[in-house]
Amino acid sequence: MVKLCSAESAIIAKIAKNVIFSIPILIPLVDKADVNRGKMFAAAYAGYSELRKGDPVITLTKEEALKLEPRLNPDIQSAIYFREYFIDPFRLILMNAVDAKRHGAEIQTYTEVIDILRKDNSVTGVRVRDKFSGEIKDIKAKIVVNASGPWGSKVAKMAELEHPLRLNKGSHVIFDRRISDIGIIAKCIDGRTAYLFPHENTTILGTTAVDIFCDPDEVETTYDDLEYLMVAMEKAIPSIRQARIIRTMTGVRPMINQYGIIEENVTRNYEIIDFENKAGVSGFLSFGGGKLVLYRIMAEKMTDLICKKLGKNAECKTGTDPLIGAEKDVDVDRLATKFGIYPHVARKLAYLYGTKATDVLSLAEENPQYKMEICNCESILEAAIRYSIRNEWAKTLNDVRRRTRVAMGPCQGCSCIHKVAAVAADELNMSPEALMQDLGNLLQERWKGKKPLLLGQQLAQEEVLQSSYSHVPKIHQGLRTGEEES
């Protein structure tokens, strides 16, 4: 498994080179037991560093570790130092979607599968509902692939098939800036590992593992989730509570359904279930388990199976051909000079779009005002917002947010969302009515992540946002009209 992950990690670093970044990580070793564990980790990791084309794992003395990160708890024996790759998951998915489209795929967002069509022992297609218009229609298909992640069981049930998954919630706390330029590992109360990683302009602290049984849409980050993480990281970085939390983030792992063992020991391997074999029903294939680094190999194996069923013979090139934008490194300085933008803005564009950054900036050729900076926290230009709407299936403000990172910085949209709204309204030709509702949706989505741990300076920031928007009608959830007296 480790070998596979290492190999894949090197492939992804190549095919998505612009959205990959590597950070050094420190594992502080507090006692003898830690030191021994550290030695085992180093040994296991060392074997794969060449495969993943990364740096070797080294041991640092306490002094060396504290020099690297002075905020570290000095009560340590030594530390392990190694490097890991990180990625912007939204952009990775987007790049894959764009690439799929280039190869002839059709992508339909806001199109919810509400039923899977069956004729006797064959799955023949899907029934979908357009979330905007409410229109329902049937789409025929020779093969339906269930890649719905934590909703896998729910979707399989639509085809009257069983694909049990073990759903497990993982929460993160996000801080307003880089606390350290290196990642820090700490031990949780139950022996699990917590990590503090710099992530673009912010820092993330994660993660929990709680088995859940509700619909993944219902998960909430609880106060307990977050305290669990803070208590752990306090041991490694005693001053962590002084850092400003801007929001929380929760995801659900769609793990293979292994019962009777703790989450940590559940396999992270993936499964591809062919229901022709399992239940005698053809035309339905389902994913389970896996982890982000395995996404490509999972897709490759699934596609191999599909090709076999469809009688197609073709070579898989996803491991060698770069995704759109990742063809080569971008000369950030040249980009900045050519388009007359600040270097840090160019750097951001190069990171998000790779070689396509020139396409984004070219929108400003005819309309120079598209070089206007809309989101100051994340340095996002108007051109990026328009590009995401024109070329990246962005239909709502939340879509724009995921693709461009507007409203994901410290102010969580307080200063910029009305500006993003103005641009989106122009680009999407939205009626003011629809726009205000969408603005309300964006604020509601941001609130979901802020509410569980709204503290310190973020509470003051929230007061600013509330004072700014409280008088705006229809921004309130539930579309209360001006007629209601409170």
């Binding site: 106060y223 005002q369 900076e373 910029c416 003011p432 509470l459 929230e462 959830q477």
Partner: protein
């Protein structure tokens, strides 16, 4: 600075602190303001909401009526306290609900307007009229007192007209096209007569700002103030853009200057042939808020009130149930300030008058008991219990109603209603009894409660019964 003494110490230099200090000075007492930084006032909308209606629909009831009908009906609202105090002083029964007109509130408003006029930052408006403004995204914003540059956009006063929306290319704070589209929707919601129309919204390169793709409000304001010909160029361009449109008014972003707004707008008006006005500010940064802050400071100076900024009051020592001595920090220096009376005008979360500590709310200087909208003490209640699941609830999140409870004399009290210290007063957003974000009386509560707090804090002697 050595340890020193002042008769009355006011903590906070926002609209509440300065208004209180001026009242104290006018009553003949010596007063000094201490503040750690700018707070909510400097980034606020820069207009004073005295009593907004819950639902903004024409015709708008005036603040006077709304205070009587709505705000004063809530027993713990600061306006209700002010009215009760007045009745007590006049010997009227506190229960006479019919007569909720308040001389005190009226005097407070008049005094505030006089103070601002005195420093050449006149504001228009009164208790008899609520204005209807357009904000920078085209939604309706109601207010009572506003500078003329904004008041000229009062839609209730424009009987007939056509408003064109024009903005600077590269200035992301104001998109005139969105404003113009939303105006049409807003007109329907509030019931604006057809005679007041919205025309198109246009973004343009004004002379002197060509080719700019990131233009800050402060730059527009400063250059209009300081550079020769900028206002003229803006006016002419507006005139060109509005030609043949039939427009009578032009809605501009709220940054038409800091020191010379009226002069700038006069030039723009003459050159364009339209009546220019500034829209209301939506989110910070706010030039309007900044202007108000500067005018308030000028006003303090005019009364001989010194503002010590940045001077952070860390704590206050107590002696026999009286506040006595403040421990103050400014940069690397720390020292003590003795005072006979103290006024807390430290604001809500934005200014740090109320903070979060250990997941709950706290008043950081004296650890005063804090109360919610229903007069329940909330000192150990978890913040998350005071948050609604809606992002922008109509009534606001309960946590933003949390504050210090005061009696009619603006003295902070315990849950039993007894003054905690005989020589301490509080005013502005630090008070409980109203939601600081959504109540429709932002700054209105500040100028009225500070008037009373100032009057009380100026008294050298207090009768035992009080």
């Amino acid at each position: 600075m050595k340890d020193f003494k002042t008769e009355v110490a006011v903590i906070g230099c926002g609209i509440a602190g300065i208004t209180a200090a001026k009242k104290i000075a006018s009553e003949g007492a010596d007063v000094t303001i201490f503040s750690k930084a700018y707070g909510a006032t400097a980034m606020s909308t820069g207009v004073v909401d005295i009593a907004n209606p819950t639902v903004v629909k024409l015709p708008l009831k005036p603040p006077e009526e709304l205070i009587s009908e709505k705000y004063a009906k809530k027993a713990n609202h600061p306006y209700a306290l002010i009215i009760r105090r007045e009745k007590q002083l006049e010997g009227r029964t506190a229960q006479s609900e019919e007569d909720n007109y308040s001389q005190t509130i009226s005097k407070a408003v008049t005094t505030f307007l006089e103070n601002m006029k005195d420093v050449d930052y006149p504001m228009e408006g009164s208790l008899n009229h609520n204005m209807l403004l357009i904000d920078s995204i085209g939604s309706a914003k109601c207010t009572s007192l506003a500078p003329p540059s904004v008041a000229r956009g009062d839609l209730t006063k424009i009987n007939k007209g056509q408003i064109i929306f024009i903005g600077f290319k590269g200035h992301s704070d104001y998109d005139p096209r969105l404003c113009s589209q939303n105006f049409a929707r807003t007109s329907k919601i509030v019931g604006l007569p057809d005679a007041v129309e919205g025309a198109s919204g246009k973004l343009t390169d004004f002379p002197g700002f060509e080719g700019r793709n990131t233009l800050l409000s402060i730059e527009i304001a400063r250059r209009l103030d300081r550079e020769e010909g900028i206002a003229t160029g803006v006016g002419r361009k507006i005139g060109d853009l509005a030609k043949g449109d039939g427009a009578t008014h032009v809605c501009l972003p709220p940054c038409m200057g800091i020191d010379n707004v009226e002069r700038n707008l006069k030039v723009i008006g003459e050159e364009s042939g339209l009546i220019p006005f500034e829209c209301a500010n939506l989110t910070p940064p706010s030039i309007l808020g900044f202007r108000m802050q500067l005018a308030l400071e000028d006003s303090a100076n005019k009364s001989g009130v010194v503002i010590r900024l940045p001077y952070e009051v860390k704590k206050i020592e107590i002696e026999e149930n009286n506040l006595k001595r403040m421990a103050v920090v400014s940069g690397e220096r720390s020292f003590h300030v003795d005072a006979d009376r103290f006024v807390l005008a430290t604001g809500s979360f934005i200014g740090g008058g109320i903070i979060e500590e250990e997941e709950t709310v706290k008043e950081p200087i004296l650890n005063l008991p804090l109360f919610d909208e229903n007069d329940a003490q909330v000192n150990s209640v978890f913040i998350r219990r005071m948050l609604s699941s809606e992002a922008i609830p109509i009534k606001g999140h309960p946590v933003f109603s949390v504050g210090v409870k005061v009696n009619e004399n603006m003295q902070p009290v315990s849950d039993k209603g007894e003054p905690l210290y005989s020589n301490m007063f509080a005013c502005g957003n630090i008070l409980s009894g109203f939601n600081h974000t959504s109540s429709g009386c932002r700054h209105g509560v500040a100028i009225t409660t500070s008037y009373v707090a100032g009057e009380e804090a100026a008294k050298k002697q207090r009768k035992r019964e009080e």
